[in-house]
Point group: none
Chain length 401, copies 2
């Protein structure tokens, strides 16, 4: 990919508009001979594909299954191997918690341990969210600081919470304070380097204090902490690409990701139609829109092939709302694949189409994995998608004379 320094020098501000439509986990595998995209009746997407160029993207590297964090960073034009985002940072940002560069964030689970400190349930029987909120409030009330380090505890859904440690000299990332499997003893975090010793001491002190307070809260009588890290120093999309970007997403984590690269998070409804309505309303105010459709991935994770197909069809019905805005560039792709038959993220590359008046004629007949595989973009790193979108919106100057 083109280095940051060169990208900053090439990018120019223009009025042209780009829409990046991410159908989360849309790429799939065949069931009865057809993938989810091949099975879906989606005339609008297929027509768009016939007027686009196509290819397949690898978010990280061929064969590597990505999490949502790195796969989104890649499609936003950032090297996912360079900018690692800890799960705690992602969740905190998604909850709207404004992180500073003195913060260390971790994703937490309430869990159950027995008298020998052996984990018997990593999710504490999926306690109700209300119970979670009550425990978090008690912990927060009793633990405001560890030495001079401030502690912020925020409940999520069921057994999940986020914890932020704020103080000077807290270096991350730390190893997970989580044995990963039931039947193993609880685990403390460790400092992989000398400079993160202070941080690991603080986190481990918190775990001990929490275990003591949680004694009376069986089954939620201990905590597991994962993805303990600081906010990476990511240049904003304004700085790197001279964009004024906005995010239209329904799930916290994607809003969190978008805010980390400097997108404005727009308030929107829960449905695809509501997301496209927001797009229309906010059309004059931004030059880059990231529109995120979550449920293709959720149904893929659930193994619900038919439901995933239906979401693609629902998206297809709303697509004309996007098309009538006539963006200079439309890109439609997934962040990663989530084949329903695998019930999880996979390494398969993502179908990618790009529509613009400045592209050659491709010969795609539909928006599917195999059609994109024979597109003129070929197979390419997802990090090249952003330069391609910018180029087609005429937002990049010439490199060299």
């Amino acid at each position: 990919m083109i280095p940051e320094k060169e990208m900053k020098a090439l990018a120019v501000k223009t009025d042209s508009k780009i829409v990046l439509l991410i159908l989360d986990g849309v790429g799939g595998l065949p069931l009865n001979g057809k993938t989810e995209l091949e099975a879906a009746n989606k005339p609008n997407l297929d027509t768009l594909a016939r007027n686009s160029i196509g290819g397949l993207t690898d978010p990280i590297s061929p064969g590597i299954t990505p999490g949502s964090g790195p796969s989104h960073l890649a499609i936003f034009g950032y090297d996912p191997l360079k900018f690692e985002i800890g799960r705690g940072v992602l969740e905190a940002a998604g909850l709207g918690f404004e992180l500073t560069n003195r913060d260390l964030a971790a994703r937490g689970n309430f869990a159950t341990m027995d008298d020998d400190q052996v984990i018997t349930d990593r999710r504490a029987g999926r306690i109700p969210t209300e119970k979670n909120q009550q425990i978090c409030a008690e912990l927060q009330n009793k633990i405001k600081k560890i030495a001079e380090v401030e502690v912020f505890i925020r409940p999520g859904k069921e057994h999940r919470f986020v914890i932020i440690f704020r103080g000077d000299g807290l270096q991350g990332p730390l190893t997970d304070a989580d044995p990963q499997r039931e039947g193993l003893k609880i685990k403390f975090t460790a400092a992989p380097a000398l400079e993160s010793k202070k941080a690991s001491d603080v986190v481990n002190k918190f775990i001990k204090e929490a275990n003591s307070i949680l004694k009376s809260h069986h089954p939620a009588n201990t905590v597991l902490l994962r993805g303990i890290a600081k906010v990476p120093q990511i240049p904003s999309m304004a700085e790197l690409f001279k964009l004024t970007p906005a995010c239209i997403a329904t799930y916290p984590m994607y809003k969190g990701l978008a805010s980390l690269v400097g997108m404005k998070i727009l308030t929107t409804g829960d449905t695809i139609a509501a997301e496209f309505k927001t797009l229309k309303e906010q059309w004059p105010n931004f030059d880059f829109f990231y529109v995120h459709i979550k449920k293709t991935d959720s149904y893929g994770e659930d193994g619900s092939f038919e439901n995933k197909v239906q979401i693609i069809e629902e998206l297809d019905k709303s697509l004309p709302q996007l098309l009538e805005l006539n963006p200079a560039v439309i890109a439609v792709t997934g962040d990663h694949s989530t084949p329903a038959v695998m019930k999880g993220h996979s390494w398969h590359p993502n179908p990618f189409i790009l529509h613009s008046q400045w592209e050659r004629k491709d010969h795609l007949t539909a928006f599917t994995e195999n059609e994109c595989a024979r597109g003129i973009l070929g197979r390419f790193p997802a990090t090249d998608a952003m330069p391609l979108m910018l180029a087609n919106a005429l937002k990049l100057n010439k490199f060299g004379a």
Copy 2:
């Protein structure tokens, strides 16, 4: 791309001959459904394509529109992000001016400013070349040195000139002494780092002296200087690839580029037929020939779709002169695309075909962008073209045991 050290170790000297035929800016975009290459009647190129393997090259990175300097460096096998060539160096080399490593070169424009030093015409009404020569002679006569730094001024065509500052401790690159747009005040150069302060002081002193001398030469009453930099330290093609390379080109800039990588610049005529005649005459003397056809790019820049098509057809008629020499390897490609409908360089990848007895069978039917897109070379960085040519000429040893 393969690193320099490994390339030097692998390359061997052989008698086999390679011809790299660059149709500058040949890749295009459709007008009435066909690109320039699709519209051209070019039976010889298409037959060659049917007996070649094909692919599409990205000179810098997908989405990045290159200037001619970096795009040529890439196709010559050099990393264009590593070796940056300033416009001044390029033009000076193209005029046959032998640059040393004490030289800082800049591309100049004579321009018009008003009494408030606001630029009103960046090209001084495109003064005649004779007038340019006369002004350059006067400037050279009056400014031979700035402090202990020697100054060389060489006229180009119309309003263009090249200036070389020769002295110790001149570091570049400097920022352009050019406001880039009319309606803005003249601009001096700046030193982006402390070590280039001496150079920027010398250049700015020159600009002030020139402005004083040019007072009587309205409309050519000031100068704009761009691409102010030193010669980059580039290993020669002899050193890197063990080639004895020659350049057959009609335009100064391409000769300049070729000389920077150590090619012998052959004297030739202005037509394509003349270039191929030179190729034949010099056939015994070199093992690598870079043949450059300029006008595909020029007509692309002018937006003359039909003329660009005609140049492709003219080239096609001369192609048998090349084929009958029976080179071990023939590669035909563009350095970058210049779609006539865009009237300028673009980011679109370049059609590339390679003919050799040692290649697999591809299924191309013609030399066009879309045929090359489905070629077995796929889409690849232009920097890989040179190793592919060398391999097919059996000029590379095995890597490792």
